[in-house]
Amino acid sequence: MSDNVIEARGLLKLYGAQRAVNAIDLDIRRGEIFGLLGPNGAGKTTTILMLLGLTETSGGSVSVLGFDPVRQPLEVKRRVGYLPDAVGFYDHLTARENLAYTARLLDIPRREATERIMESLKSVNLDDVADKRVATFSRGMRQRLGIAEIVMKKAEVAILDEPTSGLDPHATFELLEMIRGLKRLNVAVLLSSHLLDRVQSVCDRVALFNKGDIALMGTVVELANQVLGAGHPLQVEASGIDVAATLRGVEGVQRVTEEGAGTWRVVADRDVRAAVAQRIVSSGGSLTRLADLQPSLEEVYTRYFQEARHAA
C-alpha cells in the first residue's frame, strides 16, 4: 500500500463551460496536515466535495484510502470525517444527541457509542455542555462539536473546510490545537483556509489554488523559493554605522533594503548571520537584533497573486 491516503489524478469539475476544478493532481500523505489555499471561488470546496463523493466528478480519478468515492462512497465516508464550512447541527437536540445520531448512522454499537461520544466531547472541551441543546452553542462551540464528530468517528482522514472562519483569535488557536491533536492520532488532515499565518503554523504542505488550477504545491519554504526566489532573508537592527554600505561588502549578500528606522532586510544566497554580525561589530556599530526571517506564506500568497494579475 502506498503512503498516500488521497490520490487525485486529473480531477475535473465542470459547471457548464466553467472549469471550477481544472484537471488537478493531488496527493495527501498519511499523518500530514495539508492546506488548501486560494481566493474565493478558486475551487477548494468543489475539490473537497469531489473527494468525498458528495458531488459528481466531470473527469479524472480519485482514490481515498484505496476506495473510489464515485463507486464506493459508503466505504470512503465511513473512514473520512468531514467538517463542512459553516457546519450545522440539529438545534433542538443536545450535543450528545447530535453525535448519537451520527453514531447510529455509522452503525456503532450503542454502548461503545456512548463511550466514544463522551471521550470525543471531552477532547474538544465540550463535556460540560454535552446535554445542552445545540441552539445555545456559539460558532466556536459548533465548530468544535464538528471536530468531536470526526474524533468519535475515528476517521483516518479529516477534511475541514474553512474550520476557522468566523472564530475569534483565541477560538482559532484552540481549534488549531485540536487539529494538531488529530495529527497526533495519525489522522491525515486536509483543510482549506484564508488565514495564511495560521495555516503556515499548522500545515506541513500547502497547495495554492488559482481559478481551478493548483498553481503551487509543497512546503512553505519550497513555495517561497519558487515565488520569492531562493535566498535567506535576515532582519538586522543596528545603529552607529551605515548598515547598508557596510553589509554590501559581505560575501554572499545580494540585497540590503531599509525597512524602517534602524531596521534592514538583508537577502543572501546562504546563511550569512555570522559574517554579518562580525562585520557590524568590527565596523564599530552596535548590533541590537539579528533574525533569520522565515519566509511567510502571506508574502508568498500576495506576491504570487500580484504576479498572476500582472500576467493576466
Binding site: 465542470l14 470546496t45 466535495l49 468525498l52 458528495l54 458531488t55 459528481e56 466528478t57 466531470s58 473527469g59 464515485v70 463507486r71 464506493q72 462512497p73 459508503l74 466505504e75 465516508k77 465511513r78 473520512v80 470525517g81 468531514y82 467538517l83 463542512p84 459553516a86 457546519v87 450545522g88 447541527f89 440539529y90 438545534d91 433542538h92 445520531y101 451520527t102 447510529r104 448512522l105 455509522l106 452503525d107 464538528g146 464528530e149
Partner: protein
C-alpha cells in the same frame, strides 16, 4: 462526460436511524401537537353530532358503527370522512413541507450525507418517518371515534364493521402518503420552506376548489353536440369521472364510500346491467366491496410512488452545498 458508474453498497444503509430520528422528531414536535389539535377539533364536531343522531335510531342490523364515520349531520353539514378528506392533506403537508430544505437551511445536509449513507435512504427515511407519524395520528383518532361510539351507543361493533373500519384506516394512510410525497417533492424543489409550503397548499386548494369547476368546464368541451343514446351519456359521464379521479381527494372519497357504505354497488354511473338482480339497499359482502374500491386504492398508491420518485430524481441531482 463520463456516465455514472454503478455504486456499491445497499441504498438502504442507514435507513433505520433516519426513520427513527424523523419519527421521534415529529412525535415530540410542537407542530405535531398543533396538527393533532386541529384534527380533533375538526373531527370531534361531526362525530359528536353523528352519535347524537344515531343514538335515537338504533337498528341492530345496519352498520351503525360505520355510520358514525359517514353520517352527514344536518347541524354540521359535513361527515367525519369528508372532514378527513381535506384535513389529512393538511396534516401531511404540515409534516413534509420542510423535510429536505430545512436540512439545507440548517446546514446539516452535507454533514449528514458525509456519513455512510446514500441520499436514497435519507429521502425514504424522511418519507417513512412522516408516514408513520401520520399513521399514529390516524390510528389514535380512529380509536377515539370507536371508543366514543362504544360508550355512547352501548353496542360493540360487529366483526365486519371492524374489518371495514380498519381498511378505511389503511386507505386514509395511503391518502396521507400521496400528500406527504407532494409536500416532500416541494421541499426538494424549493430551498425556502415558505415557498414549498405555499406551493403544497396551492396544490391542495387547486384540487379542492378549482379542480371540480375546471373538470366540469373541460367536460363541456368534450361533450358531443347532442346526446342521443344512453351510451353517449355514459361515455360522457365516465370522462367526467376520469377527470375528477385525477384528484387524490376523489379517489379517497370513492374508496371510503365503498368501504363504509356497504350498500354501494358501483362507483361510476350506474348501468342497467349492474342493477339487474341486485336488491337495492342490500349490503355488498366485504370482499366484493374491496374489489370495488381496488382501482381507487391502487390509484392512490401509484400516485404516491410517482410523486416520490420525482422527488427522488430531483434530490439525486441537487448540489449538497448550501
Amino acid at each position: 462526460m463520463q456516465r455514472k458508474a454503478a455504486r456499491e453498497g445497499s441504498p438502504f444503509t442507514g435507513l433505520g436511524p433516519v426513520f427513527m430520528k424523523e419519527f421521534s422528531d415529529h412525535l415530540s414536535s410542537a407542530r405535531m401537537m398543533v396538527l393533532m389539535l386541529f384534527v380533533i377539533v375538526f373531527g370531534a364536531f361531526p362525530v359528536a353530532t353523528s352519535l347524537q343522531t344515531l343514538r335515537s335510531a338504533v337498528d341492530p342490523n345496519s352498520f351503525i358503527f360505520l355510520r358514525i364515520f359517514t353520517l352527514e349531520p344536518e347541524q354540521v353539514g359535513i361527515s367525519f370522512t369528508a372532514a378527513l378528506n381535506f384535513i389529512i392533506p393538511l396534516m401531511a403537508i404540515g409534516l413534509g413541507f420542510d423535510s429536505v430544505n430545512s436540512e439545507f437551511n440548517r446546514r446539516t445536509l452535507s454533514r449528514v450525507l458525509s456519513q455512510p449513507i446514500y441520499r436514497d435512504a435519507l429521502l425514504l427515511g424522511k418519507f417513512l418517518g412522516g408516514l408513520a407519524t401520520l399513521a399514529v395520528a390516524l390510528v389514535a383518532l380512529w380509536l377515539i371515534v370507536l371508543g366514543a361510539g362504544l360508550i355512547l351507543l352501548g353496542v360493540p361493533p360487529r366483526g365486519v364493521e371492524v374489518a371495514r373500519g380498519l381498511s378505511f384506516l389503511l386507505v386514509a394512510i395511503a391518502y396521507g402518503g400521496v400528500w406527504l410525497a407532494i409536500a416532500i417533492l416541494f421541499s426538494v424543489i424549493f430551498r425556502s420552506t415558505a415557498t414549498s409550503a405555499l406551493c403544497a397548499l396551492g396544490v391542495w386548494l387547486f384540487f379542492f376548489i378549482l379542480w371540480p369547476q375546471l373538470a366540469g368546464a373541460l367536460l363541456v368541451g368534450f361533450a358531443p353536440s347532442e346526446i342521443r343514446t344512453v351510451d353517449d351519456y355514459v361515455a360522457l359521464q365516465s370522462v367526467g369521472l376520469g377527470l375528477m379521479r385525477l384528484s387524490p381527494g376523489t379517489l379517497f372519497s370513492e374508496a371510503v364510500l365503498g368501504l363504509l357504505a356497504p350498500e354501494t354497488r358501483t362507483l361510476g354511473p350506474m348501468l342497467p346491467s349492474q342493477m339487474r338482480g341486485a336488491i337495492m339497499g342490500a349490503p355488498l359482502p366485504f370482499d366484493q366491496s374491496l374489489l370495488l374500491i381496488w382501482p381507487q386504492v391502487t390509484g392512490l398508491i401509484a400516485g404516491m410512488i410517482v410523486v416520490f420518485a420525482a422527488a427522488y430524481v430531483i434530490f439525486q441531482r441537487e448540489e449538497v452545498r448550501a
